[in-house]
């Protein structure tokens, strides 16, 4: 079985990344935005794994482990903040959060 | 070392004035006066010491030099030097400083300590600008004098002080950035040919530059100095700043700060970039003439006395620009004379307007009339300085302008003729100033005291100065001559 060429695998990763990015841009719910970021990070992880296998080195997988760990930490904090926010704003709609836009027309 | 003292004295004096101002309102005044007095005597002593033929006619251009490594990484040193030209300017600085303290004695009653701090620091900056011979150091002082001046206008000024102070600061600072770019570019150009990174003026002289590079750098210098001078159309900060500044601020602004621009033109622009400057000379001289006429016409158009005087500055300093770019001995001597005489004549007019404002709380020419009957001494003084300002022979300004024009004549006859027409305009606005304010019927029923002894003394010094410069200017000319001939010789190379 021929190995899948790196370029194609990377394409997959890139598409995944794009999906995550699009999700980030179109969803207004904070939770979904966090999920989108996870997708993007995982796309990056996938790219690392692909590249690692291309170079026959463990570096990619090591990096992937780090990425997963950090993603988890980020989400943990993210969710904590969401909970905090929930008590102030009865919505998860990010477009409602504009208290900080500052001066002129506030 | 003495040179260092000349800068340190006002710096320390200012600091002391600020500190002691917390205890007694008069303390800063006396301290400033004393510090400036010491500085004046020191500078004068330097002058007298070197005035003899041996000193100034010496082959060595500098009478005194002080140099200390400062930022060796950039080839910058703390390098001061004194020659006849900047000696004159330093003496003038201290003298005007003393007069400025004198004329603000009663005017400033709030935050006296801080006021004198700023006043002294401006003066220190001005002295630094005149003495610095390292271009970075020059730029350092050039910028240093802005902030205290900004405070002087912004805190103790009149109604629209904030706007005026901002305008002043942004104009000078923005143009200063161009100066900085040009200085740096020049230093690196010099490095690329000589291998040494240096900001030393004497080393940078004669740096070979391509035509375009020279022109750009020259413009960088020129614009910065042109804003300060000021040259039409870069002058619009000046009327505002002058109008809003307290009297001492206006005096220092007119008498000293503008001169730093003139000094820069003489010392740096033409000698550092002789080719570019000569190529640019027709434009610069035209700008000078435009300034002369434009300033005079606008001076005529003003009803605010301070604005009027401010525009006369624009007009008078047009002669400086004209003279510098005519670049011959007559014209340059005229420029030096103009720098000094304008300090006295315009400074005095500001003092007078300030005194008038203290008494009447207005500077509106349409509300003032017939004041001769109320204050004849003031009227006589106004008449005298108006005459000086219109270039009456026998007073310094006349010689200055005549020398500039005589020097400019061989370079461009039409421009000289137009500039001479400026003398007519000067007559018109000067005469209008005196006639409007002091002649006619006292319609405002003004009643106030005539000049006090203090004010009369301040003005008296300027009167004597102008007459002396008008009748026997030779010491001044002699002092500047070696420097000027050196600069002229740079050009010929």
């Amino acid at each position: 079985m021929n190995p899948i060429p790196m370029e194609q695998s990377l394409m997959v990763a890139a598409m995944l990344f794009s999906l995550g990015l699009i999700g980030l841009l179109v969803r207004r719910n904070v939770i979904f935005m966090l999920i989108s970021i996870e997708i993007m990070l995982n796309a990056a992880g996938l790219a690392f794994v692909v590249a690692g296998s291309h170079w026959q080195a463990a570096d990619g997988q090591v990096m992937f482990l780090f990425i997963i760990t950090m993603a988890a930490a980020e989400v943990a904090i993210g969710l904590a903040l969401v909970l905090r926010l929930q008590s102030d704003l009865p919505t998860l709609d990010v477009d409602a959060m504009d208290q900080l836009k500052g001066g002129d027309d506030a | 070392m003495t040179l260092l003292l000349l800068i340190a004295i006002p710096l320390c004096g200012g600091f002391l004035a600020w500190l002691l101002g917390r205890f007694h309102a008069d303390a800063p005044r006396w301290i400033s006066l004393a510090a400036l007095g010491v500085g004046f005597i020191l500078a004068l002593d330097l002058g007298l010491e070197h005035w003899g033929a041996a000193g100034l006619a010496n082959d060595n251009l500098w009478l005194l030099e002080y140099s200390h490594a400062w930022i060796p990484r950039f080839g910058i040193s703390f390098h001061l030097a004194l020659d006849g030209l900047n000696l004159l300017m330093v003496v003038l600085t201290f003298l005007i400083g003393i007069l400025a303290v004198g004329c603000s004695w009663k005017e400033i009653s709030t935050r006296v300590g801080f006021f004198h701090f700023n006043l002294m620091w401006v003066l220190a900056g001005v002295v630094g600008v005149f003495l610095a011979i390292d271009l970075f150091l020059f730029y350092f002082f050039w910028e240093l004098m802005l902030v205290p001046m900004y405070f002087l206008i912004g805190i103790w000024g009149h109604e629209k002080r904030i706007r005026a102070a901002l305008k002043f600061f942004i104009f000078t600072q923005a143009s200063g950035l161009l100066l900085l770019l040009a200085i740096v570019a020049l230093a690196f150009s010099h490095q690329s040919t000589s291998g040494v990174l240096s900001y030393n003026y004497m080393e940078l002289l004669g740096t070979p530059l391509s035509e375009a590079a020279g022109m750009w750098m020259m413009l960088g210098f020129f614009i910065a100095f042109a804003v300060k001078l000021p040259v039409v159309p870069l002058h619009t900060w000046l009327p505002d700043a002058h109008t809003e500044a307290p009297t001492a601020g206006s005096v220092i602004l007119a008498a000293l700060m503008l001169k730093t621009g003139a000094y820069g033109l003489i010392r740096f622009v033409v000698p550092l970039f002789p080719d570019a400057a000569m190529a640019f000379a027709p434009i610069a001289m035209t700008l000078g003439v435009i300034g002369i006429l434009y300033g005079a016409i606008l001076a005529f158009a003003q009803t605010d006395l301070k604005r009027l005087v401010a525009y006369t500055s624009v007009s008078h300093l047009g002669f400086v620009l004209l003279g510098v770019f005519a670049w011959n001995e007559l014209a340059l001597q005229g420029v030096v004379m103009q720098m000094i005489c304008h300090s006295f004549s315009t400074g005095a007019l500001f003092v007078l307007v300030g005194a008038l404002y203290e008494r009447t709380h207005t500077r509106d020419l349409s509300r003032l009339s017939g004041l001769w009957a109320v204050a004849p001494k003031m009227g006589a003084m106004a008449m005298f300085f108006a005459m000086a300002s219109l270039g009456l022979p026998g007073l310094g300004n006349f010689l200055a302008e005549i020398l500039v024009l005589a020097g400019a004549y061989p370079v461009s006859i039409p421009l000289t003729a137009l500039a001479t027409v400026g003398l007519i305009f000067a007559t018109i606005y000067s005469v209008r100033l005196v006639s409007r304010a002091f002649h006619g019927v006292n319609e405002g029923s003004w009643e106030f005291s005539d000049l006090s002894l203090r004010e009369a003394a301040v003005l008296g010094v300027m009167v004597v100065g102008l007459i002396w410069l008008g009748l026997y200017p030779q010491p001044v000319l002699d002092a500047a001559a070696p420097t000027l001939s050196h600069l002229l010789s740079v050009m010929q190379r």
Partner: protein, 498 residues
């Protein structure tokens, strides 16, 4: 791992251990003062260990970290900044009766992340450092639970930072895919042998997103005003200094390994970003009425200035970058320090009108604030002047005319808003005292409002901030007059970079 490694890593280790120690201390007993003392002590100790580390430098802690003069210099800078932030934080938190102790853990961890970044020589350490820094900051930004803005600030920062991190990581993956190594040195060597960069170029471009976000350059800057405004003042100071400084140090190290020509497309992008930042940052700040936001916008511009020196790609430029960052640190910390000292338990003194007449109320603070602003504006006698000169010199030397003119233009615009704040400080305390209302009416918004009455009440500056501010003041002016010692030090530190 041998002793030399331990010595070379001692600053990191001390900071990390201090964080652990604080956690332990908190679990035993909550005591703000003790915790703060421990944290500051840890930072001080870490700083004290730097000379030891320098004795063994340059030292590879293979293959992740590099402990050379450059890393140690930036470490010292970050530690010093953290120390100042710590000093400011103590009194800031003291006034707010919340759970204060965990803050110091975060502060130390964020500092640790920064230390890792400046020593990073490898994508793994880069990623680790970046994320330790970021995650700690997410929490710090939202730390003030009583503040209605805290959670919003936190969420916004988190999502945007996360996004940018994702870009960065993906970019790293692409670079890795092209080169097969995660270490900077070999990576550069590998790339230089290739015909073209292939995937590495888009990879680097994507990494720039992450870098740009942390540095807050246009167009990745939009979070800055909101985070600056929403976060507690000391945290804002931290975000403005440590996080940006660490990232810039990394950027410099990463690109120093490449020869000029090959990275040219990336440099072009950075040049455009720099120009856009200088102009947009200054324009954004122009009429801003919130001082924290104003400083945010101005920081956008300042990072643009630093990039100009960076683009010079010479050791001259590296020195300029470093000096500028030092100056920027000092000025920014001083400015935020003043804001922090002026703030009280309920609100922060971040509105323009809170500074009204500060000269006449708190002359020393106002003078320091003025000095800081003038330094940011690049006026002589302040360190910012020398820094700006260095940057201009580097730019001119490298003939970067367009960026340099953008710098000049930006600085000219910048003067306006710095001076505007100075003007407010000079105005009479009470707007009605001002007989001529025009005096302050540089614009409408701030002229009529009176300062917060609580802020008007004079209070003594606590010893901690007072100490921090005096040190800053000394450096602010001292380096403006005598920059040579620092300059020489920087020169010897960054010389190993290229």
């Amino acid at each position: 791992m041998n002793t030399t490694d331990l010595i070379a890593l001692s600053p990191l280790l001390i900071v990390g251990l201090s964080a652990v120690a604080i956690l332990l201390l908190i679990s035993l007993r909550r005591n703000h003062r003790a915790v703060a003392t421990l944290a500051l002590g840890g930072l001080a100790l870490a700083m004290a260990s730097i000379p030891q580390a320098a004795a063994v430098a340059p030292h590879h802690i293979a293959p992740l970290m590099m402990a050379d003069g450059y890393a140690l210099f930036y470490s010292a800078l970050l530690l010093a900044a953290s120390f100042v932030v710590g000093l400011l934080s103590f009194d800031y938190l003291e006034q707010r009766g919340e759970q204060r102790e965990e803050y110091y853990v975060l502060l130390l961890l964020a500092t640790l992340g920064g230390l890792v970044l400046v020593g990073a020589n490898h994508f793994v350490s880069l990623f680790l450092g970046l994320e330790i820094l970021s995650v700690a900051i997410y929490v710090m930004v939202a730390y003030a639970r009583s503040s209605p803005l805290a959670a919003e600030t936190g969420i916004k920062y988190l999502i945007l930072a996360g996004t940018s991190s994702a870009f960065m990581v993906f970019g790293m993956a692409l670079v890795y895919a092209q080169t097969g190594t995660l270490e900077f040195g070999p990576m550069a060597a590998q790339l230089m042998q290739m015909e073209d960069f292939g995937l590495a170029l888009p990879g680097m471009a994507m990494m720039l997103v992450g870098v740009g976000f942390k540095l807050a350059v246009v167009p990745f800057h939009m979070w800055t005003p909101e985070v600056y405004q929403g976060a507690p003042v000391p945290v804002t100071a931290f975000v403005a200094t440590v996080s940006k400084g660490a990232m810039f140090a990394l950027l410099l190290r990463f690109f120093a390994a490449f020869e000029a020509d090959e990275a040219q497309p990336i440099m072009n992008i950075l040049g455009l970003l720099a120009i856009a930042s200088m102009l947009a940052g200054n324009l954004l700040a122009l009429l801003e009425d919130n001082v924290k936001r104003l400083l945010a916008y101005s920081s956008i511009a300042h990072l643009g200035y630093v990039l100009v020196a960076f683009l010079a790609e010479s050791s001259f430029g590296d020195e300029a970058v470093t000096f500028y960052l030092v100056a920027y640190f000092i000025s920014t910390l001083a400015a935020f320090g003043v804001i922090s000292v002026l703030s009280d338990g309920k609100s922060e003194a971040d509105r323009m009108e809170d500074f009204r007449g500060l000269y006449w109320r708190r002359p020393m603070l106002a003078t320091l604030m003025t000095a800081a602003l003038l330094s940011l504006a690049g006026i002589p006698l302040t360190t910012g002047f020398v820094a700006k000169f260095a940057v201009v010199a580097a730019g001119v030397k490298a003939a970067l005319w367009v960026p340099v003119f953008a710098l000049a233009l930006g600085s000219a615009i910048g003067l306006y808003y710095y001076l505007r704040l100075v003007v407010v400080m000079l105005s009479p305390v009470n707007p009605t005292d001002d007989s001529n209302s025009e005096a302050t009416a540089t614009d409408d918004a701030m002229s009529t409002r009176a300062p917060n009455p609580a802020i008007l009440r004079p209070k003594k500056v606590p010893i901690g901030p007072a100490f921090a501010l005096s040190i800053l003041a000394i450096f602010l002016l001292g380096l403006g007059v005598l920059p040579t010692p620092l300059m020489d030090f920087i020169k010897s530190s960054v010389s190993e970079l290229r």
